[in-house]
């Protein structure tokens, strides 16, 4: 009896499942994107809102923390702001390179509660780009955002958190 046809099929399943493990990576992002799970906000520049809801106020707080070992200090000027959905708001962040070497930082945003992530629109954000900071340099970064008027009514406050990473080595490698 020849085993080749069955063997071939089983090997193909194996290869397919190995590929499936890697397909899970984009699938995971798509899934989070569609459902808005995981607090992953969009990294695309948003369009300005046409309407403003006047009779509602949302509390937006900011936290930042540097990934362990990343020699940066990033702080927002205001701890939290109160905004009307649809209204643009600018918040300034102070960032400093604590080391005596030139570094590149990348801030990764995350929104809590997770379901509010897709309702926070950023028109300008230092997190859109990799930010080179010279040794000891201190700069001011701008965040321009608004909260969508469609924000579910049970969300009264949300937190925008930035995790700051030192990506100098990857940056140098890719340039």
């Amino acid at each position: 009896m020849t085993h080749a046809p069955l063997l071939k099929r089983l090997v193909l399943i194996c290869i397919g499942m190995f590929a499936f493990a890697f397909a899970l990576v984009p699938l995971y992002d798509v899934f989070c994107d569609i459902t808005g799970l995981n607090g992953k906000p969009s990294l695309e520049q948003a369009q300005q809102s046409n309407t403003i809801t006047d009779n509602r106020e949302v509390d937006v707080s900011f936290t930042t923390h540097a990934q362990s070992g990343a020699p940066f200090e990033v702080k927002s000027h205001e701890y939290s702001v109160v905004v009307k959905p649809g209204a643009m708001r600018e918040v300034l962040f102070k960032a400093k390179n604590l080391s005596n070497q030139d570094k590149v930082m990348q801030a990764v945003p995350s929104v809590s509660p997770g379901k509010a992530a897709k309702y926070l629109h950023k028109m300008a954000c230092f997190c859109f780009d990799q930010q080179p900071l010279k040794a000891g340099e201190e700069v001011e970064f701008k965040l321009l955002f608004y909260v969508d008027t469609e924000l579910p009514s049970d969300v009264e406050e949300l937190t925008l958190s930035y995790t700051v990473f030192d990506i100098s080595s990857q940056f140098l490698a890719s340039n």
Binding site: L10, I13, C14, M17, F20, L24, Y28
Partner: protein, 533 residues
């Protein structure tokens, strides 16, 4: 012995004479393509790994005997918990089942050998090297893997040492070995059944292994993918699990547990097959509900793909997802319950005798069910926030893996050992092994429920003072259980060397083709397919 069995004995002996005989010495084992030789190799390898992994558990229990740090430093302790887990899962339980499949599946379906004998040789012989690499990393500067057998990112990427590459390659080799073993089992069962052996006449051990093999083929490549991503994240600057580059560490857990949950059924479905073989023999009744057993096994396998995130309730999933995974998990207890009730119904009003394999099987039914119940408790999402990462989890998975999988392997070994060697094992010693194991395993794992519920975290070399007494008891149970297993080694060794000769049909209530060949099973069996009634 009946005249029919006698005829078969002569038959088998006659056929054997026509074959070349096994080569002598080490080369016999290195180049063998005989399913019985390879089965024995797997089983001996698995027993060796069981003892090595057990020795690591002894280190863990010795350190936890008292609060405070006394014997090993925390980094080494973490290596012990990690490598203990890896060895027991990939080195002890899985090869033991593959060994049993190699030995018994061809005998049970009336095939002369496995379908792909040369691949069979490879799938065994790459395995020792995988574990050599893994164990060698323990002796290298920086030590072996210390991030837990689940190797969560970023522990295994950002915070691990350079020996992680060795861990990754070891897991790759283990995975390739199990995939080849599984493919072999599937091809053998699908293509090589004796004429008349229809699907619903297959012995349950063969059925459960067929389904297990499909699970292996489906999820081992996913594990290979996960370790490959860890490898490239760590050494080649990819960012699968690194948020700085747009990745996500939580995704690691999704991919890992997509492999990990079917994996736990890979380690228990063959056990169900063994118990379903042994219980009817010593109850002297047919298995109750054969068809429902087959369907229950299949539905457990299918459900195992949609429950993975119950390992991740505390990662911050939305409520809807947590509810889904909770209910899906609880659903698995239905087919599992069908199995347990079928075993009990098989014993009901049977003329039961308590030979050693039956003792292990009954212990399996009771204690595995206990482990299933604590699993149900863990499935309750709100309660899991309390139990997560505590010794309660450790208690749960040791009940299903030690008193479940390992006890079933012991039961199977005692059941078929006379068939393999032609000798009856020393029954007194074997009973001592059983009773010592039964008592000590409960002293070892039952109190873990209590300390877990009280909040003792797992994978920590030290603990709060209030857990001291229970941990001392647990450690004593651990040492006793560990030492009892040396009795098993003695029983197996003595049985291989000699003992009372047994007839072809070793157990009077046993059914199946494996009892129609002589004991010990001749080197070549079923050259002409047997007749299936």
């Amino acid at each position: 012995m009946s005249s029919i069995t006698d005829e078969h004995n002569n038959d088998a002996a006659h056929h054997d004479a026509g074959h070349h005989h096994p080569a002598k010495g080490f080369k016999r084992w290195l180049f063998t393509t005989n399913h019985k030789d390879i089965g024995s190799l797997y089983l001996i390898f698995s027993l060796t790994m069981f003892l090595i992994g057990g020795a690591m558990a002894m280190v863990i229990r010795a350190e936890l005997f008292q609060p405070g740090l006394q014997l090993v430093d925390p980094h080494f302790f973490n290596q012990m918990t990690t490598v203990h887990g890896l060895i027991m899962v990939f080195g002890a339980v899985m090869p033991a089942f593959t060994g049993l499949a190699n030995w018994m599946v061809p005998l049970m379906i009336g095939a002369p050998d496995m379908a792909l004998p040369r691949m069979n040789n490879w799938s065994f012989w790459i395995l020792p090297f995988a574990f050599l690499i893994l164990l060698a990393s323990l002796f290298m500067p920086g030590g072996g893997p210390a991030f837990g057998w689940t190797f969560y990112a970023p522990l295994s990427t950002t915070y691990s040492n350079d020996n992680t590459a060795l861990f990754v390659f070891a897991v790759h080799i283990m995975g390739i070995s199990s995939i080849m073993g599984a493919i072999n089992v599937v091809v053998t069962i699908v293509n090589m059944r004796a004429p008349g052996m229809t699907w619903m006449k297959l012995p349950l051990f063969v059925w459960t292994w067929l389904i297990t093999a499909f699970l292996l083929i489906a999820v081992m490549p996913v594990l290979a993918g996960a370790v490959t991503m860890v490898l490239t994240d760590k050494y080649f600057a990819t960012s699968f699990f690194d948020a700085a580059g747009g990745g996500d560490p939580v995704m690691f857990q999704h991919i890992f547990w997509f492999f990990g949950h079917p994996e736990v059924y890979i380690m228990i479905l063959p056990a169900f097959g063994i118990i379903s073989t042994i219980v009817p023999t010593f109850s002297r009744k047919k298995l109750f509900g054969y068809a429902s057993m087959v369907y229950a096994t299949s539905s457990i396998a299918l459900l195992s793909f949609i429950v993975w995130a119950h390992h991740m309730f505390t990662t911050g999933m939305p409520v809807a997802a947590e509810l889904f995974f909770m209910y899906a998990t609880m659903l698995i207890s239905v087919p599992t319950g069908v199995k347990v009730f079928n075993w009990v119904a098989t014993m009901w009003r049977g003329s039961i005798s308590f030979e050693v394999p039956m003792l292990f099987s009954i212990a399996f039914i009771v204690l595995f069910t206990l482990g299933g119940f604590s699993g149900l408790m863990l499935a309750i999402t709100p309660a899991d926030f309390q139990y997560h990462d505590t010794y309660f989890v450790v208690a749960h998975f040791h009940y299903v893996l030690v008193t479940g999988a390992v006890f079933s392997i012991m039961a199977g070994a005692y059941y078929w050992l006379p068939k393999w060697t032609g000798n009856m094992f020393n029954i007194t010693l074997a009973k001592w092994h059983f009773w010592l194991s039964l008592v000590s395993v409960n002293v070892l794992f039952f109190p873990m429920h209590f300390v877990g519920l009280a909040g003792m975290p797992r994978r920590i070399p030290d603990y709060a003072l209030q857990f001291a007494d229970f941990n001392a008891i647990i450690s004593i149970g651990g040492f006793a259980f560990g030492l009892s297993q040396l009795l098993f080694v003695v029983v197996v060794y003595k049985c291989a060397k000699g003992g009372d000769k047994v007839p072809a049909k070793v157990w009077d209530g046993a059914e199946g083709l494996e009892w129609e060949v002589a004991s010990p099973a001749p080197y070549h069996t079923f050259d002409t397919p047997p007749e299936i009634k």
